[in-house]
């Protein structure tokens, strides 16, 4: 099974699956066949804890007839990987450094990693 397929199957199962390198112990996202840090090829899978923080973000503005403005965020998960995602709620409430919880939700009917704010 390709690493990409294993990741996507994880989303269908409600899991955010990350790779971890057995040689240097780095977590890896996006899924691939080698570790981009040390180039080792012995990789395991772990489920992400979901704990994360907003690294940076933007609000994509739309003309009203096209729909509401929406958030696009870069999240750093506790495991040390960064991914693009969306933080739920009012895009104006998102801030860098904000604690979030990553979960598997849906975009356009397909499973996708989304984030919600964590209560401090």
């Amino acid at each position: 099974m390709t690493p990409d397929k294993h990741f996507r199957d994880g989303l269908v199962a409600g899991e955010i699956r990350l790779q971890r390198c057995s040689s240097c112990h780095a977590h890896i996202f996006f899924p691939r066949v080698l570790c981009p840090a040390c180039h080792g090829t012995d990789l395991d899978w772990v489920n992400a804890s979901g704990q994360g923080e907003v690294y940076t973000f933007t609000t994509v503005r739309q003309r009203p007839e096209k729909g509401d403005d929406y958030n696009v965020s870069m999240i750093e998960l506790a495991e040390g990987v960064r991914m693009m995602t969306r933080v739920d709620g009012d895009p104006c409430d998102v801030a860098i450094g904000m604690r979030v919880f990553a979960y598997v939700g849906e975009i356009d009917g397909k499973p996708a990693v989304l984030c919600r704010k964590t209560e401090e």
């Binding site: 990409d4 996006f30 933007t58 994509v60 995602t85 860098i96």
Partner: protein, 383 residues
């Protein structure tokens, strides 16, 4: 101490075509007109070209399409596509190919009709699969997130970003080739429609038609041509990522490394350079590249560009044609950084001509701050 390729090639011809709006012309037509103009500038013809360097948005094998359209059979081609930086990158590969005798006359060319064809940025790239579901507006959202991070980490302000746009427009007001020539103020930039926070419309490059071309030969025959040669003293590239999520630090680009190596190859330092042409797809670019190329410390770029420092009459001449923000931006702008840099050394710039330019820097950016390529050009006096 000199790098083996320092000064081994020279730009002997420059040409542009179809800048602004060119209804009725395809991107290939504009590319070909640019090529003809540059070759005529050099006193050469298409039949003399045996090396072709071209990337276009319209085809997956653009260098072959270009050769076919131009009716030439080049013995050396490079169609490497690193986004808008491609054409600065070709200075390195063309120099190496010329020096090795793999070709004798190198033509670098580009054209796009995206303003009249669609009015929107045309890009051959599809969104990466792990980013596409979140619908970032490509490419502006990537740059916006870099700007947001820079503002958070260093206190850079929207006003400072606006100063970059105002300076670019000031240069453009003097350039008859520039598409936008009406002066703007900081307030105009702040009041323009927000596109992807914190970048508003006037923080973003233009969408124009246009093409550019340049002809390179070995330095030893460069003086046989019609125009004053402009020598390639240094050219270096580095890339860090393709997907913006994978950029190691959103406030530091690979220009740190490309710049370091280009300066080392040329044997000069940042303060020696008379004029800088930086790929300003968005206002944050100029700030990042001034920092990363060594003109100010990391985080101080916002304050650096304030008070007209990079505008006409300021202490550092940056983007003297008006840049991608105000002169032209037909999808990929990289070739125009080199064309304007070379014009300033020749004394043939269409807008403000600076006095006594011997060293110019052209910096190309590609993707979403992904590919960085720095070139140092020099007059004969710098050899």
């Amino acid at each position: 101490m000199n790098h083996a390729l320092r000064g081994k090639s020279a730009i002997v011809g420059l040409g542009v075509a179809g800048l602004g709006e060119s209804p009725g012309l395809t991107s290939w037509d504009i590319m070909a007109q640019s090529a003809q103009t540059a070759l005529a500038d050099a006193g050469l013809a298409l039949k003399d070209v045996d090396g072709l360097f071209c990337a276009m948005m319209e085809d997956s094998m653009p260098v072959l399409m270009a050769a076919e359209y131009l009716g030439i059979r080049p013995r050396y081609v490079d169609g490497t596509l690193t986004g808008g930086s491609s054409f600065v990158n070709y200075l390195a590969s063309a120099t190496a190919a010329l020096d090795a005798g793999l070709c004798d006359v190198a033509l670098v060319c580009y054209g796009s009709n995206q303003r009249t064809a669609s009015g929107k940025l045309v890009t051959a790239s599809r969104l990466p699969p792990y980013e596409a579901p979140y619908k970032p507006r490509y490419p502006v959202s990537g740059y916006a997130m870099a700007a947001q991070r820079h503002m958070h980490k260093y206190g850079t302000t929207r006003e400072q970003l606006a100063d970059v746009a105002v300076a670019a427009r000031d240069w453009a007001t003097h350039n008859p080739e520039a598409f936008m020539r009406d002066p703007i103020t900081r307030e105009d930039v702040l009041a323009s429609r927000m596109v992807s926070d914190p970048l508003s419309k006037l923080d973003c490059c233009l969408v124009t038609d246009g093409g550019g071309a340049m002809v390179l030969t070995r330095a030893d025959r460069a003086k046989d041509h019609a125009k004053t040669p402009v020598y390639i003293l240094g050219a270096a590239a580095e890339s860090t990522h393709r997907q913006i999520s994978q950029m190691p630090d959103f406030t530091v680009t690979a220009a740190v490394e490309s710049g370091k190596r280009a300066f080392a190859m040329a044997g000069v330092k940042p303060s020696d350079i008379d004029v800088l042409e930086l790929y300003d797809a968005f206002t944050i670019n100029t700030i990042l590249f001034l920092e990363d190329l060594g003109y100010c410390a990391k985080g101080e770029g916002g304050a650096f560009v304030a008070d007209g420092r990079i505008a006409p009459g300021g202490s550092l001449a940056v983007n003297t044609n008006g840049g991608g923000l105000s002169c032209t931006h037909p999808g990929m702008y990289g070739i125009f950084t080199v064309i304007e840099a070379a014009h300033q050394i020749r004394g043939t710039a269409p807008g403000i001509k600076l006095d006594g330019v011997d060293l110019a820097l052209a910096h190309g950016n590609g993707g979403v701050l992904s590919s960085q390529v720095t070139a140092i050009l020099g007059s004969e006096a710098t050899l």
